[in-house]
Symmetry: C2
Subunit: 515 residues, 2 copies
């Protein structure tokens, strides 16, 4: 772990990024791609963490998602889910590279010794009862034991790992709750996707997963590192760099320690390759006081943070919605080469609300060039765009718009050299629109390396279908005009960073759509 101290003192040279990433990746690989897992603290107590975790992992193995074999360890022995429970990890007649540890805090050091003897490479320590309640010495002992035994640790006092691509899942909360005799899904597992999410707060982490589940946003990996004695954001950025299922990273942090010089150094190089979004709890004085009482860490001066985040090329989210929306946009669309946006809409009011928000946050909405105007008027004469449409940016193709109107209008604006990105407000209600308009829009967008973000307002089946379809076609879709604008702005901000670092063209050359 000495490389982190190294990284505090030297600026990471671009050519060294790969070197560090390879080293770290090989060390922490068994967290995500283990050969075999031992659940130390598997328990017969229904709905207890040791019961939930053992069950979930076994099921994932049976389903074939988790390739690793799963073994249960309980000091009392016995059997659970038709599996033998071993009294010690040492008794397991197989190699173990990943130990999930759920035993009471005081036993963790000796379990780590056993893990070492068994040759385990990594441990997800879920157990609580360390520095968060004042047991600093015990936590130090755990770290020492891990180092002695050459074991990389996620935790303690966190939720561990959730990785739907590989089936590793240590989230121990009850999966369902019973309401009026019916089991409702209560602890969600979002679908496979392209976002890596790290959270300093386990509870907030689960809540965000729940939100992602509801919005249909997929995830690559979720890491809840709790007291974070070892594996941290730096390690995970190295991992993310080389993991093709990661197209964007989102990080929730509270304490000042989390944004040290080493992370800033690494993040700045990382951001030249993949985007990241940071949400910081404790941005205000009152918020900082709340942080102190929550994680006993210093929230720090917000100005220092902002400077650090800017240097890192990270997108700084203002609130939970922006945190998620910006990340979704960055995972699906390329960065914008500039600040000039065209809004195409079939609803005047929605276009106006988007315009207000765009102006408020500094996005430029240029009027159409002569050439563009001519092209649109031509389309209007040909009957492809309704005669009542107006072209002042917003390009309001009106409630008489057809699927074809969208395709023509979007193609026209994206072709224009003066336009860097488009917001497509695609309210589904107009009678001439068929569901196929989504795919039409997506296939036009795919032709240009300019970001396109979509909006459909509403919560009917049709509105949900439209947004889901956009998402699955690689166009991030949002439920209000203002959310769409803020998400698009993340792509503009990221493009600005890449430009500043002189790597935008190279980045865009390599960029590929998700479908």
């Amino acid at each position: 772990m000495s490389y982190k101290r190294e990284l505090e003192h030297v600026v990471l040279a671009p050519e060294n990024l790969e070197k560090y990433a390879s080293k770290v990746t090989s060390e922490i690989k068994p967290f995500f791609k283990p050969k075999s897992i031992a659940v130390v603290g598997a328990s017969k107590d229904v709905n207890s963490p040791g019961w939930v975790t053992f069950k979930v992992l076994l099921e994932n193995h049976r389903k074939g998602v988790l390739k690793a074999k799963v073994y249960g360890v309980n000091i009392k022995g016995g059997e659970l889910f038709s599996q033998k429970l071993y009294k010690s990890i040492l008794e397991i007649p197989d190699e173990i590279d990943h130990a999930v540890i759920l035993v009471p805090a005081k036993y963790v050091p000796s379990v780590l010794d056993d893990c070492g003897k068994k040759g385990a490479k990594v441990a997800s320590i879920i157990s609580a009862g360390f520095s968060e309640i004042g047991n600093v010495e015990l936590e130090k002992e755990v770290l020492d034991k891990a180092r002695e035994n050459g074991i990389r640790v996620i935790g303690p006092n966190g939720l561990g790992v959730f990785d739907p691509w590989n089936g590793v899942d240590t989230m121990f909360l009850p999966t369902t709750k019973n309401v009026d005799g019916k089991d409702l899904l209560a602890c969600p597992r979002p679908k496979k996707g392209y976002i890596m999410f790290m959270s300093q707060s386990g509870a907030l982490g689960v809540s965000v997963l729940d939100y992602m589940y509801g919005e249909g946003i997929g995830i690559s990996k979720f890491i809840s590192y709790g007291n974070k004695i070892d594996v941290d954001e730096i390690d995970m950025l190295f991992w993310a760099l080389k993991d093709e299922t990661v197209r964007a990273v989102m990080i929730y942090i509270e304490g000042i320690k989390s944004l040290g010089r080493a992370l800033v150094n690494v993040a700045r190089e990382f951001s030249k390759h993949k985007p990241m979004v940071i949400l910081k709890g404790g941005k205000t004085k009152a918020g900082a006081r709340a942080v102190a009482s929550h994680t006993a860490s210093l929230a720090g001066d917000i100005k220092v943070y902002e400077a650090a985040v800017d240097k890192m090329g990270a997108i700084w989210a203002d609130d939970l919605i922006e945190f998620l929306d910006a990340t979704k946009a960055l995972a699906l669309q390329p960065p914008a080469a500039g600040n000039n946006v065209a809004i195409v809409t079939d609803g005047g009011g929605a276009g106006i609300l988007a315009t207000d928000k765009a102006e408020k946050i500094g996005i430029n909405l240029p009027p159409p060039s002569d050439k563009l105007l001519q092209k649109l008027k031509q389309a209007q004469e040909n009957g492809l765009i309704p005669s009542v449409a107006t072209f002042a940016n917003p390009y309001d193709i009106s409630g008489s718009a057809s699927d074809e109107s969208y395709a023509v209008a979007l193609e026209s604006v994206l072709e224009d050299d003066g336009i860097d990105a488009a917001l497509v407000i695609a309210l589904h209600h107009p009678p001439l629109l068929s569901p196929a308009f989504v795919d039409k829009i997506a296939s036009v967008a795919r032709k240009y390396k300019k970001p396109v973000v979509a909006v459909d307002i509403g919560g009917t089946d049709m509105a949900n279908w439209v947004r889901d379809r956009f998402d699955s076609m690689g166009i991030p879709a949002f439920s209000t005009p203002e959310r769409g604008v803020v998400a698009l702005n993340a792509l503009i901000r990221y493009g600005r960073f890449l430009k500043r670092e002189g790597v935008l063209d190279e980045y865009l050359d390599k960029w590929r759509p998700i479908v």
Copy 2:
């Protein structure tokens, strides 16, 4: 309609509010409680406006929601949905008080003459093709005919009326759209509720209804007045004052004409009785340009608006989400008597995000009084609140919280004289929480006339269930901490207005919870 000119020149005295309201209410009553409706322009063309409207109204009558009899009028006669189509409204062998008019624009004046002869009192003119496309003369003729015949008009060029309490529904958009062989609900009808919504933009109106449907927000009435030649916000405020199903009003406006002196006068008196929220399209220069090209109206100087809205006691919403969230909060909860808020949470991170937002928008989070602290520590000693809980506001009762912990913590803060309102962050994931915690929280809240707003983050069935249950118990619930804070702030702002006008105590005396 001369009363509107009157109201421009005199400040409305409180004692005259009732007088005007009675007069207007009796005039426009047949829009919402008609004895019989004629659909002029009922059409056999499947999915055409005349087909959809006739069908929807007939169905509502058959279901018993719409008491009025429904008659179809089509110049060609014939039959539709097993009903005779009359060639003229004059042929209908029954009295008609409400005409829904869907014929081409040029026939509208003569239809109004027929309506007058038939004794109709009100007309929802859905037909388009008037001033919005330059036919100013035709629109003037329509208005003249309406006045000559003593008919009050909603429209033209709007969606008309949707009233789920009384079954009046002129929303002519196709109800479903076909996706891969399945009919998906595309034009939503939100459930019965307590919000009156007026929209200058029909498309935005439908989108907002779609959003309300998705969020489970009920509606009292939706009015889409289109070109608004007669019935406007002033009339509807008079109606809202006397309609017990209206507990809050939301208005979307674009043009400057909509915020005239008469409306400001009326709204200021209205707001002493019921809350209203305004979203203005065209708040920025770019937005104002977009308004000009959308509704050909002047967006006006935002400073003028803000001053007017402040005088009106209306809550000025910043974006679409705040528009809806503030209105929901105001419909369900009493205004706050002050700016001092307590945050009770079972998730530290979520509490911090709420704190950041609260500080940012000027909400005060006072530290606990000695008395309050003592009470909470007592509850902790009694095992009702977990030992790891911290009481610094946020009151973080932690992931070990039980149903009882919430009840005790909320009761303690609401009892405290120094606290005016509470935000309850009720993340459903902790293992000890049962679904009953929602009702426990609601029954504590009901004992105090201090506003309580809830938050549960997520989109699983359980998260949706928790928020729906809170809503139905009269506690407005939102899906992110920041949204909860902004909604609560609307209750603080409204309380401030009532205090300034010297009517807060009287208002709170009369205020009753919804359940």
